[in-house]
Symmetry: C2
Subunit: 268 residues, 2 copies
Amino acid sequence: MKEFLSIKEFSKISGIESSTLRYWDEIGLFSPARRDLTNNYRYYTPPQLIAVNFITVLSNLNIPLKTISSIENERNPESIMDLIDQQEYLLDMEMRRLRESYTTIHTRRELIKQGLKADSTKISVINMPERVVVLGPKTSFKKDEPFYRPFVDFCNNAKDLRINLNYPIGGFHEDFEMFFQAPGKPNHFFSLDPTGNRILPAGEYMVAYSRGYYGEFGDLHERMAKYAKENDLLIKGEVYTIYLHDEICVKNPSQYLAQVFVAVSKEK
Amino acid sequence: MKEFLSIKEFSKISGIESSTLRYWDEIGLFSPARRDLTNNYRYYTPPQLIAVNFITVLSNLNIPLKTISSIENERNPESIMDLIDQQEYLLDMEMRRLRESYTTIHTRRELIKQGLKADSTKISVINMPERVVVLGPKTSFKKDEPFYRPFVDFCNNAKDLRINLNYPIGGFHEDFEMFFQAPGKPNHFFSLDPTGNRILPAGEYMVAYSRGYYGEFGDLHERMAKYAKENDLLIKGEVYTIYLHDEICVKNPSQYLAQVFVAVSKEK
DNA sequence: TTGCTCCTCACGTCACGTGAGGTGGC
DNA sequence: TTGCTCCTCACGTCACGTGAGGTGGC
């Protein structure tokens, strides 16, 4: 009758490959109910479908087969509940991790998209929605020092300060004067982490772009000052620099694309 | 100065093992900016931290290193955006999958927990919250046939009917008379899928337990009928049987624990 | 000389997937 | 005899981890 199922039938119904079933048998995780004595054929029973489905679920959750094996051998309600308790916790962590990865690549994607739309020669004033970042500690540039060491310091301290470096990283100047003096030497580095604590309020921002290697802005600071003057703009507060296109998506360093923005208001 | 970082420094700052960095170098995914000509030491630059962080994110998302390699080699904004688009979709699928696995093990856990609390000798009437299941097609038991073939039929058709077999599976009798005649031969099998379409309304249910192998209920049907009579209970509608403890969590088949419940009301 | 960092090379691990070559019943 | 299912055994894959044995500068 249908009391026993061949490996092929069992594989088809359960959706598990024969090779996987043989492997699970080999390591003692899940064995057929019966073996034919003459030809060693594997035979499974219908109720084994229930057990194998459960193993499949656990395996899909990336639980090591050894762990599953150990609870299958010492099978009692309490240990299964313990395992499930643990797994519910781990699953929760994993889902948080995935969600975070999701927002990191999504954030990156939005920057790249902005970069593709941007006209890097034009300065403009636009209304930007609220944004959020995480500021690092104050940088300490020595005279004529490039950004390497301060940047490494920032990365080095990031773990202790719970700053996520997987988000795009930008530069922060306390005011336009600071930016004007040394556009390539920000007073802080920041992470574009959307769970951040520093809020850039929605409103009018002067936005400029510059192509070139990290920290090289050519005459951008002068062009920005000139634009503000010509358009009667009052520059208010901090200057943010982020790279829309960096080494992640562009080969030629001279084509990296920086975006600089600073809050402005019309002078009366 | 700090223009170049040794593999140990780079490993510490980025949080990536040296062995992983060597492997990524070996397969051409991510190589140090410079190699010392005399001793072959690897040296990385600070900006490489940005690139390696991005690779880490992609790798954490289980994107094959070959895929990451290919976009790293042909690095342009459009292909990176394409990759991210695809990954956002896959991530969404993966998160759904995890959530579903979560509910399957959670459902299982709740049953096991109920089973531990249950007094298997006692019948009682309790107020149950609303529940939901997915009914399979009508079973076709032949005379004196055990549950094997109808159960396998159910499992076989499950994919086409989009019935998820990873949830606990139970038996359904159309009324108590059917159950009384053949407790081990349900008119339908069902999956305890909480996204199901068949609603068991909240209300008063007579609940009984039975220990034994699948489909073996001893004199449970008689005890249930007697209990209903003695307590002036009117039995209404369908009878549901689920295994709180089955081969997944109990070794001895005679200790499997079934729960049978059916809606009742007090006779006036 | 000692200690340290780094190197290459080889082998192990995990959970299978993929043939190669062979068997048993219709 | 042919075709089919199943078997075992060996080797490949992926992304590393883990020594073993050796080098170069302080």
